[in-house]
């Protein structure tokens, strides 16, 4: 029997190649190859009339001196700094609340659904909905906010970006809630109950039990939220079109516009490559962990 199994293993390599082939073909053509191709394109000055010209790193150089690109980087960074803490805070708040009330199964499942449903909707649906909720003339929310003296959020240069950050939080916090809920479920209830009976204070509970046990989930939720926030596009594209002024022109919107409004494809490719490196450097931590588990 052992011999029989061994002969099987010899075939494994061939079968393995056959099985992996269709996927790898699709992946390498549409996901991997474009990355290299994008870098290649970023070295050219693209001109539909005279043909493209190899210009080396000129596009990157031009980017560094392009105030609009610098603005986009700064806006993106500001957006990340605003969005990530909000998302983590609300996600954790929801998860802790639901965990605390875990014996009320019905209420928990309904509240969980209400928190989570926004994330299952398309960015165009949520952006359009919020755009009209905050419309200066007819917006439902804007009406009541104006009643209490707040300015029109989406046309105020200093408030537009925080508003987008808040809408994004509304959209994705429910997903972070799920991640934290999954982590909380793994915490042995007996440990917590024993600590409470022993008279542990709230602070001790949080610092000595919840925080250490949730740290891995927290780390990764933060990384993914950063990565996600760097890639946001639809909200600003549909709600503010980067305005007022350029106060909400995120990096992704800058890239889209350079490419498809100004047809400066070399520059767009270069900016895309920079964004890719930014995102990759943030996600390196996770990649390392993934590698370990892959090669174990």
């Amino acid at each position: 029997m052992r011999k029989y199994l061994k002969r099987y293993r010899a075939n494994d390599a061939i079968i393995g190649f056959l099985y992996i082939l269709p996927y790898v073909a699709c992946w390498s053509i549409f996901l991997a190859y474009p990355v290299g191709y994008g870098f290649y394109l970023s070295l050219f000055c693209w001109d539909p009339l005279r043909g493209s010209q190899f210009v080396g790193f000129t596009n990157y150089q031009r980017l560094l001196f392009d105030p609009r690109f610098i603005n986009a980087i700064l806006v993106s960074l500001k957006f990340v700094v605003m969005t990530v803490p909000l998302v983590i805070f609300f996600g954790a708040l929801m998860a802790f609340g639901l965990w605390y009330l875990r014996h009320y199964k019905k209420i928990v499942s309904i509240s969980q659904a209400l928190f989570f449903i926004p994330y299952t909707l398309s960015v165009s649906v949520i952006a359009i909905t919020w755009r009209w909720l905050l419309d200066r003339n007819v917006g439902f929310f804007q009406y009541y906010m104006s009643q209490i003296g707040l300015p029109v959020l989406l046309v105020d240069p200093s408030l537009a970006l925080p508003t987008i950050a808040f809408v994004t939080t509304w959209w994705i916090a429910g997903y972070r809630m799920l991640i934290f809920q999954a982590a909380l479920e793994d915490i042995p209830v007996e440990v917590v109950e024993a600590a409470i009976i022993d008279g542990a204070s709230f602070r001790v509970l949080v610092m000595k039990i919840f925080f250490p046990l949730l740290k891995p989930a927290m780390t990764f939720a933060i990384i993914f939220t950063i990565v996600m926030a760097f890639q946001m596009f639809g909200q600003v594209f549909l709600m503010t079109e980067g305005g007022p002024g350029r106060s909400t022109e995120l990096l992704a919107l800058y890239i889209y516009r350079s490419a498809f409004d100004y047809l400066d494809l070399g520059r767009a490719a270069a900016a895309g490559f920079i964004l890719g490196i930014l995102v990759l450097s943030v996600s390196l931590v996770w990649i390392k962990k993934g590698m370990k588990s892959a090669l174990q």
């Binding site: 029989y4 199994l5 099987y8 075939n11 390599a13 099985y19 269709p22 996927y23 699709c26 992946w27 053509i29 549409f30 996901l31 991997a32 190859y33 474009p34 990355v35 191709y37 994008g38 394109l41 929801m94 609340g97 639901l98 605390y100 009320y104 309904i110 509240s111 969980q112 659904a113 209400l114 928190f115 449903i117 994330y119 299952t120 909707l121 960015v123 165009s124 649906v125 359009i128 909905t129 007819v138 009406y143 997903y175 799920l178 991640i179 999954a182 990764f220 993914f224 549909l238 992704a252 889209y256 490419a259 494809l265 490719a269 895309g272 890719g276 995102v279 996600s283 990649i287 590698m291």
Partner: protein
């Protein structure tokens, strides 16, 4: 636990309150989609209309090719789901169970590339799609999404946990690799396949950026992209825009109502491989 009871009531009130407030935009969107035209500019605005009419949906479907867009979205979502399942099942099995040269290296590549954002790819992908004559075609949107590695990660993880002894027994009984995959592995993976299908279907239905670039012609647009046109066409008639948004949200609502547990499980699973 008397003190506990008071805290319970407070937490309960706050949390339920928060979840209702959280959901107001969705309720408003649905309500406005079915609001009579005459009530649109009512002051103060209402969250839910006094009476519900279907006029907005009818008007929007006659002024825009909403039916076509809905169908396109459905083709894209279903096509992505089927193709991704097919590709990922074989690839995941090859990663989980078969030894072949270069396996670990390829896996690391998949991991790294998983974090490459669409934004870096849109320009080269645009050229690529144009060279392959895939611009303004639905396969042009389906193929890049079907190539995403998340399904491979999810299924590989699940396959790894299926005991190898079951396979060995099947082999001794003369079952080939393909037989093992179809008679043992796939039937045993029902839950993970179902959850992944829901996840990728929802993802493909909602995809925005690449579809926006790839699908420029009106007839081939998906609903999420068509919504942008609808949004741009009306400056005040937002009841019509919300009717469009409602149609765009409908599949997600349905999936959530019909299979809430599965949807949640799908997203929890997806998060475990670090996507989203």
């Amino acid at each position: 636990m008397r003190r506990g009871n008071i805290t319970y009531v407070i937490v309960l009130t706050l949390l339920v309150g928060l979840s209702i407030i959280w959901f107001i935009p969705v309720i408003w969107m649905i309500g406005t989609a079915f609001k009579p035209q005459s009530d649109i500019f009512e002051v103060p605005p209402r969250i839910w209309p006094k009476r519900l009419v279907i006029d907005n949906v009818i008007v929007i479907s006659t002024q825009w090719p909403v039916g076509q867009w809905f169908l396109n979205s459905f083709v894209v979502a279903l096509g992505t789901t089927m193709l991704s399942l097919f590709l990922s099942i074989f690839a995941a099995y090859a990663f989980a169970r078969l030894r072949w040269p270069g396996r670990d290296l390829l896996f690391v590549c998949l991991l790294i590339f998983m974090f490459v954002p669409w934004q870096i790819n849109i320009v080269p992908l645009f050229f690529l799609a144009s060279n392959l004559k895939l611009l303004n075609t639905l396969p042009g949107v389906i193929l890049p999404m079907a190539g995403m590695p998340i399904g491979v990660f999810l299924l590989r993880q699940f396959f790894l946990n299926i005991p190898g002894e079951i396979e060995d027994a099947a082999r001794v009984d003369g079952c080939g690799r393909l037989g093992i995959l179809f008679r043992i592995i796939i039937p045993m993976s029902g839950p993970v396949l179902a959850a992944y299908s829901l996840y990728i279907f929802n993802y493909a239905w909602n995809e925005f950026l690449w579809s926006l670039i790839c699908l420029q012609r009106r007839q081939v647009m998906t609903l999420t992209i068509g919504l942008k046109l609808i949004q741009g066409a009306y400056t005040r008639d937002y009841g019509l825009v919300m009717a469009g948004a409602f149609l765009g949200a409908l599949p997600s609502f349905l999936m959530f109502i019909l299979a809430r547990r599965w949807m949640i499980r799908a997203f929890v699973m997806a998060s475990s491989v670090g996507k989203g």
